[in-house]
Each structure stands twice: as C-alpha cells, then as structure tokens.
C-alpha cells in the first residue's frame, strides 16, 4: 500500500506541475487585468493544435513546442491590443463577455481549420516507454512534462523576480496607480502580460498533446481545473497557483487508491473547503 501511495504521489506531482503551469498563466492575467481570462482554455487548445500542425509539417518536436508558446502569445497580444484595450474603461462585464466571445471564435476557428475530430501525436522516440523506479513505473513523457512545466515556471519566476520587466509586472499587479505615476507604461505592460499568459496556456497545450491529444473543446476541461487551482492558491497570488497545482495533482492521484470514482469531485470539495476556511486562498491576502 505504501509503495502504491508513493507511486501515486510521484504521478500526482507530475500532473500537478502541468496544472500549476496552466494556472500560472491564468494567474498572471488575472493579476494584471483583474479579470479572469475566459479565453485561457481556448489559448491552451490553440497551442496544442499549433504544436500538432508544426510537427506534422516536419518540424522537430522542440521547435513545435516552442511555437505552441510563440503563436498563442502573439495572438494574445493581438486580442489584447485590438480588443481588450478598447474595453478597459468599460464595466467589468464587457471584458468578461469579450473574452468569452474570443474563446468561442477561437474554438470555431480550430474546428474550421483542423476539423471536429480529435487529433493525436505520439511522444518523440526518446520519451517512449517508462522509467522503472522499483516501486512504480512512470511514463517518460509524463516526467518530461513535469520537468518542462517546472522549468518553465522557474524561467517565468526569474523573469518576474529578477528583471525590470518582471518588477513592472509585479508593480502593475500590486500598485497599478503608483506604477503609472512612476512612468510605467501600464497599457504596454498589460499587453505583454496578456501575451505571456496566453503563451503559457498555449505551451501547456503543446506539452500535453501526446498525453491528452487535441480537441477544439479541450480547453474547457482544463479551465475548470485551472480556476480551482487559482481559487485554492489565492486569486492574484502568482505563486499560490504553483502550490495549489501540485496539491490538486497529488490529491487527484492519491485519491485513486481509495476512492477512484471520487477523484475529480474531491478537487472541488477541496476548493469549497478552502473557500469556507480561508476565502482568500492558501497564499492570497485578504
């Protein structure tokens, strides 16, 4: 039993890193715009399709994966610059509706371009098979996923904590008016932050492609988990999303040992309990 639980913890950490990465991008946009990005799932799906298309035309997997970040990020910049910016002074609801509409348009575009049937891509040869840890086996590609998600989070952490751009993002999230007074171009910052968040969503989609495949509506599945992670971690807390992502991954995986049919509902139970006990989330501030 102990080895089975240990196996599920390992599996859960790998899955959790992916949840963390997706919620991380959502958290950045939520922090900057103070609007939950309803199009985050669509960027995630778009990233998966970009990765598929790039690999299909013969590009190496690494390049396809890089494009799954770049293309959704650029699309995010366009959507923010030519759509959201115009609604900045409008009530909150208009921005939400705009993002919701953008998500629907992206979903339909995916269907028009790639069709309604799901698509699959096998992992590169080097990631075929599994690592035998003695007490369990872990698919190599799942480990690669976890590591890539972890490395990406570290890279974005360094970008946010150690660069001028990052300090401006933090200032934009924490004290927007003050940052503006100090000459920070908040408009440009929001555009860049939105692009970064969209790129991270797309990159997550590209990463999970060999495991989950690609469907136009795959973003809806991820969105619900990403929002749960965001709420548990604390709305606006960028790093809370990482801890909560790992927590949810481990809970989902370990619960399979005891109550497999309830593994999904448990995630929502944890969210409800968190909201009741600590409404600001594990790492959020009141």
């Amino acid at each position: 039993m102990a080895s089975l639980i240990a196996a599920q913890v390992v599996n859960g950490l790998m899955i959790g890193m992916l949840y963390a990465l997706t919620a991380f991008g959502l958290s950045i946009i939520k922090g900057l715009l103070n609007v939950p990005n309803f199009a985050h799932g669509a960027f995630y799906a778009f990233g998966a399709y970009v990765c598929f298309a790039a690999h299909k035309v013969g590009l190496p997997f690494a390049l396809a994966l890089a494009l799954s970040f770049v293309v959704p990020a650029l699309l995010g910049v366009v959507i923010e610059k030519f759509g959201l910016t115009r609604l900045m002074q409008a009530p909150y609801l208009y921005q939400l509706l705009f993002l919701f509409g953008a998500a629907l348009v992206m979903e339909q575009l995916i269907i028009i371009i790639w069709g309604a049937e799901g698509l699959s891509m096998s992992p590169p040869d080097v990631f075929q098979g599994a690592f035998d840890l003695g007490f369990t086996v872990v698919p190599r590609y799942l480990v690669f996923n976890g590591l890539m998600a972890g490395l990406t989070i570290v890279a974005v952490y360094l970008l946010i904590e150690r660069t001028r751009f990052g300090s401006q993002i933090r200032a934009g999230i924490d004290k927007r008016e003050m940052a503006q007074c100090l000459g920070v171009d908040i408009g440009r910052l929001i555009t860049a932050g939105f692009g970064l968040g969209a790129g991270l969503a797309g990159f997550s989609g590209g990463l999970v492609l060999p495991l989950l495949g690609a469907t136009a509506t795959m973003g809806n599945d991820m969105m619900s988990i990403a929002f749960v992670v965001l709420v548990i971690g604390g709305l606006g807390s960028i790093y809370g999303a990482i801890a909560a992502g790992l927590l949810i991954g481990v809970i989902q995986s370990v619960s399979t040992v005891f109550v497999p049919a309830a593994s999904t509902v448990l995630i929502y139970v944890v969210m409800v309990v968190t909201l009741m006990v600590r409404p600001q989330g594990l790492f959020g501030e009141r």
Binding site: T136, S253, T256, S263, T264
Partner: protein, 406 residues
Amino acid sequence: MAHSLELSRRHLLQAGAATLGSSLAGITWAQGKADTLTMGVLSQQTGTFAYAGELVLKGAKLALEERNAQILGRKINLVVRDDEGKPAVGVRRLTEAITADSLRFFAGNFSSAVGLAQLEVAQQEKVFQYAAGGSEDFTGARCSPNTFQWSAHAYTALRATLEYVSKAMPDKKKIYTITADYAFGQSLLHYTKVAAKELGLELLGNDNHPSGERQFTQYFTKALSTKPDLICLLTAGADAVTAVRQFNSFGAKTVQLVGPWTLEVDQLKELSPQMRAGLVLGLNYYQDIDTPVNKTFVERYRKAYQSVPSYASAYGYDSFRTILLAMERAKSVEVAAVIKTMEGMQFDSIFGPTSIDARTHQTVRPYFVVKCKEESAMKSEFDFATIVAEGSKPQPLELNECKRKV
C-alpha cells in the same frame, strides 16, 4: 383586464386550431389515406457527438435510396431532428416530430440515455423505435413493445471479446478493469464478471472513473501495480481515446489493452497508428464484414461519401433497411403490423443471417473482435484493423429482466 381577455381568447383559438389540426392528421393516418409515410432519424446533429448524428443520417439515406424512397406505393418522407445528445431535448424533438410531421417510425438514438428517454414517448404515442447504444435496459428492465434494439447486447460483446482473448492469448488470465462510472460502464463491468467467470479468467480489481475524465495515468499506475496480463477498458468516447493515449505512454508491452465496447472506427481515427497498433477491440460493426449485404452497402457508401461506413452509419442504414423489409413482409406500414412481423423475423442483414428476439426485441446478430494494425500493414487510411473473431452468444435467459411475454 381587456388585454388579458383578448390574449386568452387568442390562445384558446390557437389551441383549438392546433388540436383540430393534430386530430385531423391522426384521422388521416388512421384511415391510411395519406400517400406518404414519415420516417425519422433522431440523433445528435450538434454538440460533442455531432459526427454520429450525421453518420446515422448518411446510412439511413442510403437505405431509402435503395427503394427510391418509396414503400408499398407510399412516398417516404424523411424527417431529421437534433437532440443535442440530451434526453430532455430528445423527448421534445420526438414529440414535435410525431405531432407536426406524423412521424411513425424512427431510428434513435445513438446515445442510450437519449434513446431510453424516447422509449417512453414511443410506447405512449405508439410509434416504432429502433434504438442503438450500449444500455441493456432496452431489452431488459425497460423493454417495450414499441422499441427494438439494434446494437449487440453487452453480454454478447463481452463474451465475444474475452473469448477471443482467452483463445488467442491463453497465458493471459489476469484482468484489471477501468470502468466508466455510469450505467453503460457498470453494465459492461457486470457482464465482464459474468464472462470472465465462464471463461476462467481472474479479475484482479476495478476502478470506476467519472465521466469526462482527462487524466488516466493514476488509474494505470494503480492497475499496473497489480501485475495484470490484460487491462480491460470499460469506457467509451473521448474518455476511452484519452485512456488509450495515456496507456500508450507507459510502454507496457507485456500488458494487453482490451476494449470490449470502447472505441469505434470514428474514434480510431483520433489515435495515431502507433497508439492503436495491437489494440484488441470489440465492435458492433466493421467495414470488412464478409456478407453480400454489407459488401453492397460498403461499396455504395464509398461511392456516395468517399469514406467507409462506421457503427453510426451502419446503424442508420441497417435499422432503416430492416424496418422497410418488415413493412414489405407485413404488407403494411401500420406500426402494430410491422412490430408483429419483426418479432421473430429472420432475414439477411449486413451481418448475414440475423433474427429478432420476439420477447425482448433484441436484434440477434454477431459482435466483432478486431485487432488494430501496425501502420506498415495498413493498405489504406481506413484500413485500421483485422477482424480476428466474432461471437453471437445471447444473454443467458436467467440474467434478462424483461417482463414482457409473447
């Protein structure tokens, strides 16, 4: 107040007109004076399973074209309704089609949940339903005089699939099951236990997964820890596709993945050849069935749609073809006469010699076991698998819950 009264009068007039209209339609039908017969396809035209509705319709159209859309001197009027895969919508659409279009015969539904909801309406309105889907309730606890079941029984499916496995892989005896936590999955699990016991296979354990699950690595981690010879996926649709993808990532070559009612040809396209190679699947239909009726069907389907038929399109074609055949034999298009003829009817279908159980209304037909091909062995983009076995053992009588008597 006057305004309110005026509205009430208007409503009364409208209601009266509607009642009169539907009564007249009923009289016309009852007297058999109409020169048209309305048949319908009720399935998903929108939503996640939109592809299925379109395929059922394609098949049904081919069956009508074979007879120039006529039967016993009547012109057949085909109505199509979209139930969006939702039971409540399915019931509403069926009721509308019965009252507005005088629908008397319909193929519906590709989804068990919607089909079972429509079963009550079919019985109440005395219209003919030819259903598909995996639920055993159609011919079991909820069997109805007006509903027939086209898909194989879950027992037949499990028995055929596991019998093949036990013969082709005699050293593989230990099974772990991963089951969808809804009626369809539980029904498959029930008959897996029955068939495994009959065939001397050992069930190591089972995990139920919620519908819409997108993460299966934890289930496989647990299943593989029990050292099974076979993992039986008792799930379907997008969940099954995701599960196969993720099982593939484990590279567990010594464990055979088996899907007794898991993936149809439409979903096989969603998997890369590498992911599906070697997979053992049970299927309600496969294009290579070697019978005269099926060969003609496949040829005509290819010509019409530049594709090969699948479960959904075969259901549309064969259900319509069978209803029309029964009308011809009954020399009548009255629902009661057609039902009476179909009970116990023996005929050649796409499956070859086929019959219909008079009491349960189960179409007694074979179930097919296929093994998916390596990419190098595929002769065309549609050449997914080889039929390796078929079985048609019916559900044991003592396990059937249908209370109808013939």
